[in-house]
């Protein structure tokens, strides 16, 4: 029992390239970095005060926007500062020391370039989306308005902790904090049972992932004796550690972290919460469930990349899960009619691409895709929100058409177009470059079935182009035609709508869609310009290796995720093949070409074909789409495919049957067991024993005074007799 097979993993350690490790800077000149976190917190407190004093204006929105903008400015300033990486101690949180050990997890910041990269788009998009929401949430001014913005503030604070934290416990704090913010905001329309259920589902499914993270933290601490990034990275590079628990501790860490990442970033098998999360207000979907929070899983793996390199099989799993999720979500997205849900599935699918990138050793590609995706997906959601806002909650793409020809809706239509071409990976857009960086690497890196995975991903890219433009062609192009929705949350804000709205918004004729005004349009334009400009870093050479990728690659390089940059001297290329040496010489090929250049053509062609297919079926000859659908449904051998796709492959139902129902049953069984066996049989049964005993003597207790007296007298006589007899006996004995 005491014997432990101690394996020094020195032979694995060369796979882990040097990681830039932060020095502890105590009296730092960047003490103000903490205010990146404090500003959202201040905003939260002020929003709370607004709620307490029942402020009935847009004040909470301006407070939030202002403080988030301050955070953004500070982040940029911090990014321009010289001496990153560094650590900044804010205050002591949990720190214990005892003989022979310690546990230190302080409230401290770990600032390196990966942090800055993430925080820049988190705070930047956060500010813009809060601005958008100030108009979008207008009908709720004085009601849920402060609740909404306090939720946004909580989210930004928690996301800041997650990204900027100096140790795994800070990360965990942020991890659960964003989960709570997500719960709070998904359940914003708390009177609607669907919203409440979706919020609950999001929190609980995320908790499954959190369990993985918690266990990973325990295991890391038990193995390495610390949870602080810089110490961990130093230990890993030195290789000066040994396995505990009979040699599985280091191997198990990446799998546990993976569980956490898959929960938060909505991958198989835990993706089910994200589509339901669309019950929240649209700005929330854009900010939390598309651009920022869901990328936390990517961040986690990128941050802890050295752990994954120690166990190469874990990266293979990451790649496969990512690839399969991308495909599955894309097929579901193809068959949905709700615009927000389509975008939600496309988010799941794109996140799958990012995980694929991590799995095939291109952390740069993954991080770059996170960056570009944050912009174009935010645009898509925000346009969907504008549509929902204007058409009384209508989101069914069959009931909307020709938006680009309607007065006041042109900006929405064309910004959505920008978002769509980026998402579809149309040549020379940001999505094109970032996606290709991942796809090409799938062919470059050697791993189990990575070639197949690469082709699957290309097929997924085709589907993506198709379903993206399916939305745009249906909603924005074509003849003008619309039906208003049923105003999903009318009990919350009908009295603030147009005068005619409440009377006849159910009838088509009296309904006037109200076009977005300045704040929404401004934000849409800014973010879509950002989405286009996000392609620029690709053309810039980066400082260290001189390869493409610009400052994004630089930023990834300056962090613990460094080892995944192609061309980086330490880029291991293939984990199973350590003989890899000079750049791309031994790389795989596609159709006889270097994968990176081949991918430009393949991806362009695939995207174009998907786009044309969408234009054909959903713009030029819409009746063909209906004919195709009825043809598919009428053939028994293929019928299952569209049905399964429309029903999301029945994943929710399967989970219900396999997990929730058995547990629920077990709960009832335990409840009955507790009531009848533990309490009924054991406890009450035991307490019945003395009662049974008492029943023997019960006849004596007949309540008649004199019968008690008889008993007493009889007892006394008996005692006297006994004493007499005993005395005689003993005396007799003594005499003899």
């Amino acid at each position: 029992m005491m014997t432990s097979t101690a394996i020094r993993i020195a032979e694995l350690v060369p796979a882990v390239p040097p990681v830039p490790v932060a020095e502890v800077v105590e009296a730092t000149s960047h003490w103000w970095a903490g205010f990146i976190l404090w500003f959202p917190l201040i905003s939260l407190v002020l929003c709370g005060l607004c709620a307490a004093f029942r402020v009935r204006s847009k004040l909470p929105a301006w407070i939030t926007i202002g403080s988030l903008a301050c955070s953004f400015v500070l982040t940029i300033l911090l990014g321009n500062a010289e001496d990153v990486p560094e650590r900044i101690l804010l205050f002591e949180w949990i720190s214990m020391e005892w003989l022979g050990g310690s546990f230190v997890a302080n409230f401290a910041l770990y600032i390196d370039s990966l942090t800055i990269l993430w925080m820049s788009f988190v705070t930047g998009l956060g500010t813009l989306i809060a601005l958008y929401a100030s108009e979008y949430m207008e009908p709720d001014v004085g009601k849920g308005y402060t609740r909404f913005f306090s939720g946004v503030s909580i989210f930004l604070f928690a996301m800041g902790c997650l990204v900027m934290g100096d140790n795994l416990l800070m990360l965990y704090l942020g991890w659960e904090g964003v989960g709570f913010a997500s719960y709070w905001l998904i359940g914003y329309y708390y009177r609607r049972p669907e919203a409440v259920a979706a919020a609950k589902k999001a929190f609980i499914v995320n908790r499954i992932g959190d369990l993985g993270l918690a266990l990973a933290v325990y295991l890391i601490w038990a193995t390495f004796g610390t949870v602080q990034y810089n110490e961990l990275m130093t230990i890993i590079q030195s290789g000066d550690f040994s396995e505990v628990y009979e040699g599985w501790s280091v191997k198990a860490i990446p799998y546990l972290l993976m569980l956490a990442a898959f929960g938060k970033s909505a991958q198989l098998p835990l993706y089910v919460w994200l589509p339901d999360a669309m019950e929240g207000p649209t700005p929330v979907s854009a900010l939390i469930h598309a651009a920022t929070m869901v990328t936390a899983g990517i961040y986690l793996i990128a941050r802890m990349y050295p752990f994954f390199l120690l166990e190469p099989a874990s990266l293979h799993l990451v790649a496969w899960v990512g690839g399969l999720t991308a495909l599955l979500a894309a097929t579901i997205g193809m068959a949905q009619y709700d615009i927000k849900r389509i975008f939600a599935y496309s988010t799941v699918s794109q996140l799958g691409f990012m995980f694929l990138g991590l799995g095939v050793l291109t952390t740069y590609g993954a991080a770059y895709h996170v960056f570009t995706h944050a912009f174009f997906k935010a645009v898509l959601f925000l346009t969907a929100g504008a549509v929902m806002h204007g058409f009384a909650g209508q989101l069914d793409l069959r009931k909307l058409s020709g938006l680009r020809r309607m007065k006041g809706w042109r900006i929405v239509a064309w910004t959505m177009f920008v978002g769509c071409i980026c998402l579809a990976g149309f040549p020379f857009t940001s999505g094109y470059f970032s996606k290709d960086a991942i796809l090409a690497e799938a062919f470059v890196t050697q791993g189990p079935g990575f070639q197949v995975l690469g082709w699957l991903a290309i097929f997924t890219a085709f589907l993506t182009a198709y379903y993206t433009f399916r939305v745009w062609c249906r909603v924005c192009a074509g003849p003008v035609h619309y039906e208003p929705g049923d105003e999903l949350h009318d009990d919350d804000h009908h009295d603030d709508h147009h005068d005619d709205h409440h009377d006849d918004h159910h009838g088509e004729h009296g309904f006037h869609p109200h076009a977005p005004r300045f704040a929404i349009n401004f934000v849409l334009v800014v973010i879509s310009v950002g989405a286009l400009l996000a392609a620029v870093p690709y053309f810039m050479p980066n400082e260290v290796e001189g390869i493409k990728g610009g400052w994004v690659a630089d930023m990834v390089h300056g962090s613990s995720a460094a080892s995944g940059i192609p061309g980086h001297p330490d880029h291991p290329g293939s984990l199973s093949d350590s003989a890899h040496g000079d750049g791309h010489a031994h790389h795989g090929t596609i159709l006889g070409m270097d994968p990176h250049s081949a991918m430009y053509y393949i991806s362009g062609v695939v995207g174009g074909v998907g786009l044309l297919l969408a234009f054909w079926l959903h713009l030029w000859r819409r009746q063909d789409a209906d004919r195709l659908r009825s043809w598919l449904l009428s053939r028994a051998w293929i019928r299952w495919l569209p049905v399964a796709m429309e029903n999301k492959w029945y994943v929710d139902e399967v989970y219900h049957a396999l997990v929730r129902a058995p547990l629920w049953l077990l709960g009832h069984v335990f409840h009955a067991f507790d009531r009848y066996i533990v309490d009924g049989l054991l406890v009450d049964g035991t307490s019945r024993l003395p009662r049974l005993l008492g029943r023997w003597f019960q006849p004596l207790q007949n309540g008649l005074l004199q019968s008690y007296a008889v008993t007493m007298a009889g007892g006394a006589v008996l005692i006297v007799l006994m004493m007499v007899l005993m005395m005689q006996f003993f005396q007799g004995g003594a005499v003899q």
Binding site: I94, L173, Y190, P193, V196, F203, I204, R207, L215, Y245
Partner: protein, 524 residues
């Protein structure tokens, strides 16, 4: 100072009984506030923070012929629990102003008597005072449940009384046997001092004797905690008790059990603890999962929170038997945190009950629109209870679990548990989120649903009154403070915990050095 803490509530009892009925609550409130003030003063003046020493001591000869000398005093751990008690009492009194409307003098008298007994338990330095106070807590609680409780109060109070009393009788037997054995060893000189008996138990008893001692202590304190198969009195008593009764029951009375385990079992029978800790941990884990799944199918909100105590205290026990500093610190923090957050949940449910006269989740729902302040507090304390980082519950839960995880013979730190214990117990985190969020989803959110004839707005406003907010705000403040600054408790009690664990070092250190030897030997 200790005497003052015990005697002041008793003086309060006299004052309450002598005062007119309408003044009773004022007198009780003042008394509890003064006691709280005294305890703060005691804590400030206490010089044992961060040291393992005792302070605030005092003694009183009673039956010195039999070595019975009433000794009081506190070390840092007991002082933390004293503070928890004195902090919760004024809130419990304040929270009863509208819910208790008859036999007022009696009610507040019992509450104050209960406070004296609980403080007596935490401040006792000898077994006689400890045991007397430990048992005496039952009496006020019995009457509080039996007179002011819900519909099924008679059964609940009797069950509570007999169940816990039976358990502690076995503990009494063990205490007496221990004292007798000590007197035999000391040539007939009796003593009931806890310190002396602990010393005797460690050095004078062999492993089998310690095993019996452990079993007897486990029965008594395990019922009180409660540990899995002996928990069934708790849901009933919690459900039927009046609000303040539930708060005190969950907040402090359950902690008597864990405190007893910490104060007696861990120091007295180390060898037996090392042998039996895995079994106790398994019971704790069963309690965690079993309690959580039962919570899931409850429709009575109060019963749900009651069962959640069974689940939550499993973590506390797990931390205790990890036998390392993190686990013990986590466990002590857990005692405080559970008192705060579960106490607050009982207050909130009581506030709902006062208005809607039901605790059935199917009958009432969607109260967020009518009672936004109440809803905010509800969500807040549910999150504290679920263990959201940044609030108090997280720190203690995390420390207990990581301690259990690392405490394996294969692990980095010596102990007798291991990763599987923590991994399975951690499933409780998911279940906790499930049942508590389902509860919130039904009574706080969703479409509004009110039972007929309610709300009762005769005495109470629609949303919380200023008095009710005053009850909740201090709890919320401490939830945040202990969530971000847990070192207040951790640093204060670290030395006491280290002293408690010192006796385990030779026992567990052997295992540890064996593992290290293997590691060094295995390294190339």
């Amino acid at each position: 100072m200790s005497w003052l803490l015990i005697l002041l509530p008793l003086a309060g009892v006299v004052a309450v009984v002598l005062s007119p009925a309408r003044m009773a609550k004022i007198v009780a409130m003042l008394t509890t506030l003064v006691v709280f003030g005294v305890s703060i003063a005691a804590a400030v003046g206490f010089d044992g923070w961060g040291k393992g020493t005792w302070g605030l001591t005092g003694s009183f000869d009673w039956l010195s012929r039999y070595g019975i000398e009433i000794q009081v005093g506190a070390d840092s751990v007991s002082l933390v629990l004293v503070l928890l008690t004195t902090f919760l009492m004024p809130l419990a009194v304040l929270g009863s102003f509208t819910s208790v409307r008859e036999r007022l003098r009696e009610y507040y008298g019992w509450l104050l008597g209960l406070e004296a007994a609980m403080l007596g338990v935490f401040l006792a330095k000898d077994l006689v005072l400890f045991y007397v106070c430990f048992e005496f807590t039952l009496v006020p609680m019995f009457f509080i449940i039996a007179i002011y409780g819900g519909a099924n109060r008679a059964k609940a109070s009797v069950k509570f009384m007999i169940y816990t009393f039976t358990g502690s009788l076995i503990t009494l037997a063990a205490f007496l046997w221990l004292a007798w054995s000590a007197s035999q060893a000391a040539d007939g000189a009796w003593t009931f001092s806890i310190a002396a008996l602990t010393e005797h138990a460690v050095s004078g008893l062999d492993a089998t004797q310690q095993g019996w001692l452990l079993l007897a202590l486990l029965i008594g304190f395990g019922v009180k905690v409660p540990i899995f198969p002996v928990h069934t009195w708790l849901p009933l008593a919690h459900t039927e008790a009046p609000t303040a009764g539930s708060v005190i029951l969950a907040g402090v009375l359950l902690k008597l059990g864990t405190y007893g385990l910490y104060r007696f079992m861990l120091p007295m029978c180390p060898e037996a603890v090392v042998t039996w800790a895995p079994l106790i941990a398994v019971l704790a884990i069963i309690g965690i999962l079993y309690g959580a799944l039962i919570c899931w199918v409850q429709t009575d909100v109060k019963k749900l929170v009651a069962y959640s105590s069974v689940s939550h205290l499993g973590f506390c026990i797990l931390g205790l038997f990890a036998l390392n500093p993190m686990g013990l610190e986590g466990s002590i923090l857990y005692m405080v945190n559970h008192g705060l957050s579960t106490g607050a949940l009982f207050f909130l449910i009581g506030m709902m009950y006062e208005r809607y006269h039901t605790r059935d989740m199917n009958a009432v729902g969607g109260l967020a629109g009518r009672m936004p302040i109440w809803a905010c507090f509800m969500v807040f304390f549910v999150l504290a209870s679920v263990g959201l980082p940044g609030l108090n519950g997280f720190v203690s839960e995390f420390l207990c679990l990581i301690a259990a995880f690392a405490a394996g013979d294969m692990g980095a730190y010596p102990g007798v548990l291991g990763p599987w214990y923590a991994a399975i117990a951690a499933l409780g985190m998911i279940f906790a989120a499930m049942y508590l969020l389902i509860m919130v989803g039904r009574i706080v959110f969703g479409p509004e649903k009110l039972p007929p004839g309610t709300p009762d707005e005769e005495l109470l406003p629609q949303d919380l009154s200023v008095r009710e907010i005053t009850v909740l705000v201090p709890l919320a403040v401490f939830c945040i403070v202990l969530g971000v600054q847990p070192w207040i408790v951790i640093d204060g009690t670290s030395a006491a915990v280290a002293d408690t664990l010192a006796v385990y070092e030779p026992i567990l250190g052997q295992a540890k050095s064996a593992v290290q030897g293997a590691l060094v030997g295995g390294a190339p």
